[in-house]
């Protein structure tokens, strides 16, 4: 039946059976609201948009789940656009997503992703598998390809607790993406954004298989410190303004954002140690974990 005729009601897409994707529904009814289509530019035109960019996100798997953390800086060229930006978000009850790249579009994309997961849950009465969620995100990024080619790329990092895996040490999983929507599962830890090279280098030396959640949080803070140390676009802990990294964790009990005072304590510990050893903890020269 077509409700579009009588003005007061809804178009047919609202009643279309079979679709449980909000993004597909949006594409059918209100394509203007899709993140990737907001700024359609004439072909061949290269934009000179100076839009804020988000920087470094790290994720570390541990024995009971996964931790994701991000610095707070957004930059616009050489200017710090925002000091206290949040770049790690809860995606649903058992997953989180962090964003690097063009901030405006990334935040919009995360919002769409959050609604996408909740929408599926409500329509179907059940949650998507972790793989399913990762694949959905991949599709949303691919839809943004045209904008990525114009310089407004979004590179998220997705992590979650896989309820279908009985072993909690293996249930924390991390997925990275490229701008074309390519999806890659990462093992143990990963980082994206401008400071990711340094963060990943730090995590490579710090990571241990037997990490607890607390260890993973500490390693993430160390890695973000190292990223901020060498990358101008990544913000270090701002002790004067009391702005610290956003730290989130997903375990079998669900998503949790670490309260600022708990993060503060660990950040201060890290900063304290760096007073005597600016390069951070020393890794052993040879041999296995000690």
């Amino acid at each position: 039946m077509d409700f579009s005729r009588d003005g007061g009601s809804l178009p047919g897409a609202f009643f279309a059976p079979g679709s449980s994707s909000f993004a597909d529904f949006l594409a059918a009814t209100r394509p203007d609201l899709l993140p990737g289509r907001r700024l359609d530019m004439p072909p061949g035109m290269t934009p000179t948009i100076d839009a804020p960019h988000g920087t470094t996100i790290v994720a570390v798997a541990h024995t009971t789940g996964v931790v994701m953390a991000g610095d707070r800086r957004a930059t616009m060229g050489n200017v710090i656009a925002q000091r206290d930006m949040e770049k790690v978000f809860q995606a649903d009850e058992y997953s989180c997503v962090g964003i690097a790249g063009s901030a405006g579009i990334a935040i919009e994309l995360v919002r769409l992703f959050q609604v996408e997961l909740e929408h599926y849950e409500k329509i179907e009465g059940t949650t998507l598998s972790l793989e399913g969620k990762a694949n959905r995100l991949s599709l949303l990024i691919r839809n943004n390809l045209a904008m990525a080619m114009q310089g407004l790329a979004v590179v998220p990092l997705f992590a979650g607790y896989d309820l279908e895996n009985d072993d909690p040490a293996k249930a924390g999983r991390i997925f990275s993406y490229d701008v074309t929507g390519g999806r890659y599962e990462e093992h143990s830890f990963h980082s994206v954004g401008s400071g990711s090279v340094f963060a990943r280098g730090a995590l490579k030396k710090l990571y241990r298989d037997e990490f607890t959640e607390d260890d993973a949080v500490l390693a993430s803070i160390q890695a973000l410190y190292d990223a901020a140390d060498d990358d101008s676009a990544t913000g270090g802990p701002d002790l004067t303004r009391r702005i610290y990294p956003v730290v989130t964790s997903v375990t079998v009990d669900g998503f949790r954002r670490w309260p600022d005072n708990e993060v503060e304590r660990r950040v201060q510990q890290v900063v304290e140690e760096r007073m005597t050893s600016p390069g951070g903890p020393n890794a052993p020269m040879r041999g296995v974990n000690q």
Partner: protein, 231 residues
């Protein structure tokens, strides 16, 4: 002037449609929606654990229905899409029960007058407020009429008898477990054939909109949790 052959007056058409819809709705088992101390409680007699009569529409909004499953499922999905679209394009706080109830009224009214058969459904849109004064219950019938109900709504087979039972004990300050017992007792004492039955956790579908929960207030109870509450 002579009436054309086969003429039926509009009054008769509407009456026939209404009777048809009412009969369909009365055949089904009842669903009850009531306020309690922490928000809104939904209780349905529903042996299926997969085909729901009660569901979440949005952060503070729940949906309960009786009648033909495919018809109210259609309405439910449209409601979820509508709410998600509005919340996405404006803000989550801009999605209200009243907006949903209005749209459902339009849809049901249009179907009642223009389609060859009316929807055999009755639905309730419930919204939990920050405090008990903000709780809203909208009952929508097959012809698109909306009623803003106070305290509780009973829909489906034998609704009047169940309402009468519930009226005695209901208060908006009742605790969850007591409210649930009250609801189950009201549902089971007014069986279709007049005999009281025992309803067990496995034949019930129960959910709440609990104002004390974070963002998403809707919570569905598993059979195990229900047994504890009913014990």
């Amino acid at each position: 002037m002579s009436m054309p052959f086969g003429y039926v007056s509009p009054e008769q058409v509407m009456k026939d449609r209404a009777d048809y819809a009412r009969k369909g709705i009365a055949r089904g088992r009842a669903v009850l929606v009531m306020t309690y101390a922490d928000g809104i409680l939904f209780v349905a007699e529903n042996p299926s654990s997969a085909l729901h009569k009660i569901s979440e529409i949005y952060d503070r909004i729940g949906f309960a229905a009786v009648g033909k499953y495919n018809e109210f499922e259609n309405l439910r999905q449209a409601g979820v899409r509508m709410a998600d679209l509005r919340g996405y394009s404006y803000d989550r706080t801009d999605v209200t029960g009243r907006m949903l109830a209005n749209t459902y009224a339009q849809i049901l009214g249009t179907i009642f007058t223009t389609e060859s058969k009316p929807y055999e459904v009755e639905i309730t849109v419930a919204e939990v407020g920050e405090n008990p004064d903000g709780d809203q219950l909208y009952r929508l019938t097959y012809d698109g009429s909306v009623a803003d109900e106070e305290g509780f709504v009973v829909m489906g087979g034998n609704a009047e008898a169940i309402s009468a039972n519930l009226k005695e004990g209901h208060s908006h300050t009742v605790a969850l477990a007591d409210g649930l017992k009250l609801a189950v007792q009201a549902l089971s004492s007014a069986a279709a054939n007049g005999e009281a039955r025992t309803l067990t956790a496995s034949s019930l579908e129960v959910a709440t909109l609990d104002r004390n929960r974070p963002r998403r207030k809707f919570r569905r109870f598993a059979a195990g949790q229900l047994e504890q509450l009913l014990a």
